[in-house]
């Protein structure tokens, strides 16, 4: 071991001692500067390498670097210890027994809060349907493939699945568990339950959060809200479906807004329909929003498909029914004139405070 090596060992151990002795965040910064900073002995030794031959310079350089690394680690460790101790002290001096809080003495800033637009619109929709005689039902957001698709007459690999871009959950076998792509699985639960308990008929609406793996844009969000309606009763016809849609449309959007149905396709209803309402922008006169047709598409509906009744064990000779569904976010967008739905998830309070 050369003198130079001895000196390095000495310098390093002195530095480590100084770090160990540092007992505050300020002193550790000082100690770190002293041991590895520009004016440290190590820095001087580094500078002195210029004067030695290349092989020796390489050897010493490596030793210096190793030494620096060890010191830097020691600084980090010690700093971590001190930070933890500092946090411990802070938390201890901060301690508060919540049982000692005198709530009546607690000043409360009186300000108006603002309810979310979506929950407000959802509540309003629920109220319209409740007034029409519907109850409100809810279901889980994570569903099995069976409830989200197969019981709704959409078997695995069915091309109709392309209508829904599905998020799969990493549980069980691949593609067995999904984030529900629509609120329709709740229909299946409701019907199963009613069959099991002998409590048919059903007149329910089912609001809730749904998921589609679709890049968000001004009119679509990957996480969105839907409300769906289900009626299973005796002597229910397509005329009843059209009547319910019309009554709802006028009650929610206003007496001058009408509805109409046109053929559509959903695997769980037959006959199926898309329902359109008078364009709320131009009130039916024709504008860009409605492509000059005076109508805008709101949702889908139809008579319950016998295959779905079959999956849940309802006798299609005795019962008939219909279902309909549409986006709550879309209603909110129309109601509040929101150009870009993404503002809703942005949650800027300046936006939220308008509602």
């Amino acid at each position: 071991m050369t003198d130079w090596d001895m000196e390095l060992v000495h310098v390093e151990s002195a530095a480590l001692d100084a770090l160990g002795a540092a007992n505050s965040l300020e002193t550790i910064d000082a100690a770190a500067a002293e041991s590895v900073g520009k004016r440290s002995v190590l820095a001087a030794m580094q500078r002195s390498l210029r004067d030695v031959d290349p092989d020796e310079r390489r050897r010493r350089g490596a030793l210096l670097q190793a030494s620096r690394t060890r010191i830097a680690q020691a600084v980090a460790t010690r700093r971590g210890e001190l930070l933890a101790a500092h946090r411990r002290d802070q938390l201890a001096s901060d301690a508060l027994d919540l049982g000692d809080v005198i709530t009546s003495a607690r000043p409360w800033a009186l300000t108006a809060g603002h309810g979310g637009l979506i929950p407000a619109v959802q509540a309003e929709l629920e109220d319209v349907f409740v007034a029409m005689g519907f109850t409100v039902a809810e279901g889980p957001e994570v569903e099995t493939d069976w409830y989200n698709f197969e019981a709704l007459n959409i078997p695995p690999a069915h091309p109709a699945r392309g209508l829904w871009d599905t998020f799969y959950v990493e549980l069980g076998d691949p593609e067995t568990i999904v984030l529900r792509t629509h609120t329709s699985p709740t229909q299946v639960h409701l019907m199963e339950q009613a069959v099991a308990t002998g409590t048919l008929p059903i007149h329910s609406v089912m609001p809730g959060r749904c998921y589609r793996r679709d890049t968000p844009d001004a009119r679509h969000l990957a996480v969105f809200h839907q409300v769906e309606g289900l009626v299973v009763d005796q002597n229910i016809t397509f005329a009843d479906l059209a009547g319910v849609i019309e009554t709802f449309t006028r009650a929610f959007f206003g007496p001058d807004i009408r509805s109409r149905l046109r053929p559509g396709y959903f695997p769980f209803t037959e006959p199926s329909a898309e329902f359109e309402i008078t364009c709320t922008i131009c009130r039916g006169a024709g504008c860009r929003t409605c492509s000059q047709t005076g109508w805008i598409e709101l949702g889908g509906c139809g008579m319950m498909d016998p295959a779905v009744f079959d999956a849940v064990g309802i006798d299609p000779e005795r019962w008939s029914g219909f279902a309909f569904g549409f986006g709550i976010d879309r209603c909110a967008q129309m109601r509040a004139g929101i150009a870009d739905l993404r503002a809703l998830t942005e949650n800027d309070v300046r936006f939220l405070e308008q509602f």
Binding site: P159, Y265, T293
Partner: protein, 823 residues
């Protein structure tokens, strides 16, 4: 699907007005997504002969061209280089407005006056090519002065983009749309011109067809075309393909695509001389087999996929050596592709199993025009009709074409078209109004259904082969009734608002949720909506010990895990708002959080798997109300005050709950956070306190305090439901005695417990309220002073001084038993 009006009108007489046609299509469920006017503006563009080409001094990209458009020489400046003197090119004179809307003006460039413009295919919107001028001689147009539209047969046209639903494979073709219109309008449907196989040598002398997997292939037809000369298609074929959204390639491929668009039957042409044994066989691929498809990708066949219930069946076409040469119904192989020198063509027109094609297409990530048609269901009876049409179209460019006699036609297993019995009254029971039987018959028959009277009344209806979507039994009745309603028009059906005896209403939980929402908003909280998917980092921050519920196919790397709490989402919103300089925040959310089934004692179980035959464990979903309080001076005490207020609004009293300090709730302040638990029952209602100071620093950039209240909604609801009905208490008519008691209390004794002890002292204690906490000088270490206001009273008399004194003594003793000494 793009449907040019001119093509559609070959099969049925259309309403004059485009808007009327659009309305009818919409009403038939063939929704018009867009209407494009094409070919407009070509009337003014004329055929011109190039007379002279001159360089322009100092310009190296443009030249001076003299053309003759029928009225003598005209000078134009042109930047294209792909033409020669004597050729014919499109010339747009000054004043022309091109299809794209570009108006042609007189311009001077480099001192040369340009009196118009020579046009590329793209500028005329008749092709994508913008590499040079459209050379009209290539398209057989050389009559100087004639309009280009006329010369190329490119009249003005309207193209409707239709969205055809998945249950309407029959309408996924020009002919199919025409059939729907003919049925609705009550007009005749015209048939396309069809070729017949030539007399002479039979097909089976040359080619062979084998269906080795009858379940995968309902029908395989193989035709042999001879004397084929590969070349460009005639202009009208190119134009129709382009207007329908496909590119022209060469006459044989174009004829195949043309027929697919027109009749809905995909066909596949092979170079006969490149197919070993001129044999086409259909079978399931074997594990280990591969195929290089036309798109240049090597496909590994018969590999089970990730899809639910996907066993990896690939239906393939093999040659006479049993080598795979095509992925049936999806894409052909590169080895047997038609080339410029092809003279003999094998045409495959088949019907493959829809689900098999759907699975293969998904597994290989390969969606083609053919696969999208097959997976919805192709009419097995159309196969040879499509070949007859293909031959007819191809003869326009290959007049000597030979279609060998007796094309091969092998049947596999086909699901027979459904038979549906429609009982009298079924239509009215479904639609709420009767529809005349003659209307029903005429409509259905126009769609190809066979309708006969049933013995006991009603109708027996046989679906045509073009309607594989029509099922049997009760489902089939619904399918047929939809057709009847569709042709009748949904708009003309009656409406009735039903009523029923059961009342509507909200559940107790739904009412509670609304109450909570209203309450927090009234107390100054702004409601946010945060996404249900959070990042791994956010998850680990709040739930370091828990198992994340991950999404297999997230859209973004910061949205991969179902949220275990609302705190991280609201915290993120907090940070975003603080970044924008928005302060005095109080944000809350009511929403669902998720827990991994492996972390829950009794996970939620549900039917799942193929056919719903398995029981699967699902994440537990819990609804929470979470509020962060960051108004000036908000902290844990604010959160406590909010909790006490909320509890009061819900009809609870303060003594129903107590706090249990918790130092181990991740992301919360370890010494200023407690669980809210029921007194006695020990049910955890939620957490009250503050966010961890490190998290506060992170989300608002400066040290500070953010109060936190995080409650489980269902627990609140259960507690409310379990609360015994209490008869209303009448306050005593006699004056109460108020006494204040100040104690020195060890830090280890909770104020709430002490208050409880005081309350329990006597039935005469009406209420106990903490009104002062004193810390500091004059008190022993590890103690603080607590002062309570105690109200004493009896229902039937006024307490006298002696009684009060006794009660006071009892209260002091009770406190002392709990470790509190009177100060």
């Amino acid at each position: 699907m793009r449907v040019p009006r001119s093509w559609l009108s070959e099969f049925v007489d259309l309403p004059e007005s485009d808007s009327e046609l659009r309305d009818i299509l919409d009403d038939l469920g063939l929704v018009v997504e867009a209407v494009d006017h094409v070919g407009a503006g070509l009337e003014q563009v004329v055929v011109a002969r190039v007379e002279e080409i001159h360089a322009i001094p100092g310009a190296d990209r443009i030249r001076r061209i003299v053309v003759d458009a029928g009225d003598g020489p005209v000078e134009v400046v042109c930047g294209a280089w792909n033409f020669e003197v004597g050729q014919h090119v499109p010339f747009a004179p000054v004043g022309t407005v091109l299809p794209g809307g570009l108006a042609i003006n007189r311009r001077v460039m480099r001192g040369v006056t340009s009196n118009g413009m020579l046009c590329s295919p793209q500028e005329l919107e008749i092709g994508d090519d913008h590499g040079g001028l459209l050379i009209l001689d290539d398209r057989g147009a050389d009559q100087v002065g004639q309009s280009v539209g006329e010369a190329l047969g490119l009249g003005h046209d309207v193209v409707y983009t239709l969205s055809v639903e998945g249950n309407r494979p029959d309408a996924w073709s020009i002919y199919g749309v025409a059939r729907d219109l003919a049925a609705r309008l009550g007009r005749p449907l015209r048939e396309p011109a069809l070729a017949s196989p030539d007399r002479g040598p039979a097909t089976d002398e040359v080619a062979h067809a084998v269906v080795g997997a009858p379940a995968l292939c309902a029908r395989l037809t193989v035709s042999v075309l001879e004397n084929v000369a590969i070349g460009p298609s005639p202009a009208w074929v190119v134009q129709r393909l382009e207007r329908a959204g496909m590119r022209a390639i060469s006459n044989v491929v174009d004829a195949s695509n043309y027929v697919m668009l027109e009749l809905g039957q995909p066909t596949h042409p092979y170079d006969l001389d490149r197919v070993a044994g001129a044999t086409l066989q259909v079978r399931a691929a074997l594990p280990g087999e591969t195929l290089a498809t036309l798109d240049g990708v090597a496909r590994h066949l018969a590999q089970p996929g990730r899809g639910l219930g996907d066993t990896g069946v690939d239906c393939v076409i093999t040659d006479g050596d049993d080598q795979v040469i095509g992925l049936a119904g999806i894409m052909g192989g590169a080895s047997t592709e038609i080339g410029d020198s092809t003279t003999r063509v094998l045409v495959e027109a088949a019907c493959f199993d829809a689900m098999t094609i759907a699975r293969s297409s998904k597994r290989h990530g390969l969606r083609t025009e053919a696969s999208t048609r097959f997976e919805r269901g192709v009419d097995p009876e159309v196969a040879l009709r499509a070949v007859a049409r293909l031959v007819e179209v191809l003869r326009a460019s290959v007049p000597d074409l030979v279609w060998r006699a007796h094309p091969l036609d092998v049947r596999g297993v086909a699901t027979p078209p459904a038979r549906v019995e429609l009982r009298s009254g079924d239509v009215e029971r479904a639609l709420g109004a009767p529809i005349e039987e003659t209307e029903v018959r005429q409509g259905l028959e126009a769609l190809g259904f066979t309708v006969a009277a049933a013995a006991g009344g009603g109708l027996v209806i046989d679906a045509p082969s073009s309607r594989p979507d029509v099922r049997g039994g009760a489902a089939g009745r619904a399918d047929v009734i939809e057709e009847i309603a569709r042709l009748h028009s949904y708009r003309r059906l009656p409406r009735r608002t039903p009523t029923w005896a059961a009342p509507g209403g909200l559940s107790d939980l739904q009412r509670l949720r609304r109450r909570l929402r209203t309450a927090i908003v009234d107390l100054g909280v702004t409601e946010v909506w945060t996404p249900s998917l959070v990042s791994e980092r956010q998850f680990a921050r709040t739930h370091p010990q828990a198992r994340p519920v991950r999404v297999t196919n997230p859209l973004a790397s910061d949205s991969t895990v179902l949220r275990p709490t609302l705190v991280s989402g609201i915290a993120e919103v907090w940070a975003r708002n603080r970044e924008r300089g928005l302060v005095d925040l109080r944000l809350g959310e009511l929403g669902v959080v998720f827990a991994h089934p492996g972390d829950v004692a009794e996970p939620r179980r549900s039917r799942g798997g193929v056919g719903g035959r398995a029981q699967l464990d699902l994440p537990t979903e819990t609804e929470r109300l979470t509020v962060l309080l960051g108004h000036h001076e908000d902290d844990a005490t604010t959160a406590v005050a909010l909790w006490v207020t909320l509890a009061g609004l819900l009809g609870f009293v303060e003594s129903d709950f107590r706090f249990r300090a918790r130092a181990d709730v991740a992301a919360t302040h370890p010494t200023r956070t407690a669980e809210v638990i029921t007194r006695g029952g020990e049910t955890v209602v939620g957490v009250v306190g503050e966010l961890d100071p490190d998290l506060v620093l992170e989300i608002q950039g400066t040290p500070g305090r953010i109060g936190l209240l995080d409650l489980e909604v269902q627990v609140l609801q259960s507690l409310r439901a379990a609360r015994p009905e209490r008869a209303a208490q009448m306050p005593s008519r006699f004056p109460s005695a108020l006494i204040d008691l100040a104690f020195t209390v060890p830090l280890s004794v909770r104020a709430g417990d002490l208050a409880d002890a005081l309350r329990a002292t006597s039935a005469l204690v009406e209420s106990v309220r903490l009104f002062d906490v004193y810390r500091g000088a004059g008190l022993p270490a590890d103690t603080r002073g607590l002062a309570f206001a105690v109200r004493l009273g009896a229902p039937d008399h006024t307490l006298d001084d002696a009684e009060v004194a006794v009660l006071r003594r009892q209260l002091i003793d009770a406190a002392a038993a709990g470790g509190a000494l009177l100060r």
